[in-house]
Amino acid sequence: MAGYFEEMGWRELQEGEQPNHLLHMARFLIDFGMYEDNFSGEWPRLPPPASKEAVQNLPEVTIDSESKNCPICLKSFHSGDKAKEMPCHHQFHPTCILTWLERTNSCPFCRHELPTDHEGYEAFKKEKKRAEQRKEDLDTLHNSMFS
């Protein structure tokens, strides 16, 4: 057995040593196939809630027209109502959007994403972006060679 662990570069934890969380994360990402060249992964379930900080920092605005409604409850806003505004500028009743962001991190109208407190999901997003960048770089290289 020892031979197998050595071969894999693994060893038992020493007294008082904590497991390496980054290592666990890396293995989790590998299991998802994220380090393959053709990475095209989709997050396999509902993305996690928005981070507490992002939610706290959503600006509060005062509605100045009578023509809009809150996309969550569909009730019309009245001039002078308080609303929370997402970075994509979509506006909602504070309780409506806060309830939604406790469930998942994106704008219910246009899916603009807020950061989350979920390490795995954040790592997933980074890797996805990197994969897109890699593809773009390859395309540029390819175009420069064959045009």
């Binding site: 379930r45 509902l46 996309p71 969550i72 409850c73 569909l74 009730k75 409506c96 309830t99 939604w100 469930r103 994106s106 704008c107 219910p108 109208f109 899916r111």
Partner: protein, 202 residues
């Protein structure tokens, strides 16, 4: 039912009733009870598809947590489609699951289901048998879907040969729907369908 869900359904109901899709006969929405939790949807089969001419009924159940969670929707009308179970009517559509967003409405959901009838996603199937036929024998798939549209959704009369095969099994005492499922599953080969139907009963 939670107040916000009922209130929102009431607002949506008005929106749907005013919409041009209702005016044009593409979708319909009806209340089944007064608590606003159960509705019946109706979509017209899209033109230039095997579903054209058919009318498909949908069961809509609104959870107490709506619109923070999606409505539960299934086909009541039997349909032959890769993303709908031919047995239960369950629908495989991302916006009814992980891709649900609170700003979607019953109107947009019904329109999405209608769009699914025009553009199936065979790589994310709900019904593996139908999806296999869709990929391997698209012509036969389209004929089968049209036959089902005629049989269950009031679509135009379709394929005489299929009707005749169903009738042959009826004459043997097989239930009509079971006959249609067996024939559809075995690419309308009467012998294989018969074999499967009678072996199962032993």
């Amino acid at each position: 039912m939670a107040n916000i869900a009922a209130k929102r359904i009431k607002r949506e109901f008005k929106e749907v009733m005013k919409s041009e899709e209702v005016a044009g006969g593409a979708i319909k929405l009806e209340l089944l009870d007064n608590s606003w939790t159960e509705l019946q949807g109706e979509i017209a089969g899209p033109p230039d598809t095997p579903y054209e001419g058919g009318t498909f009924l949908l069961e809509i159940k609104v959870p107490e947590t709506y619109p923070f969670n999606p409505p539960k929707i299934r086909f009541m009308t039997k349909i032959w489609h890769p993303n709908v179970s031919s047995v239960t009517g369950a629908i495989c559509l991302d916006i009814l699951k992980d891709q649900w967003a609170a700003a979607l409405t019953l109107r947009t959901v019904l329109l999405s289901i209608q769009a699914l009838l025009s553009a199936a996603e065979p790589n994310d199937p709900q019904d593996a048998v139908v999806a296999k036929q869709y990929k391997e024998n698209p012509t036969l798939f389209a004929l089968t879907a049209r036959h089902w549209t005629h049989a269950y959704a009031g679509g135009p009369a379709a394929i005489r040969d299929f009707d005749a095969k169903v009738q042959r099994l009826l004459d043997m005492g097989v239930d009509e729907h079971q006959a249609r499922v067996a024939l559809s599953t075995y690419d309308w080969e009467l012998e294989r369908a018969t074999e499967q139907l009678f072996n199962r009963e032993e």
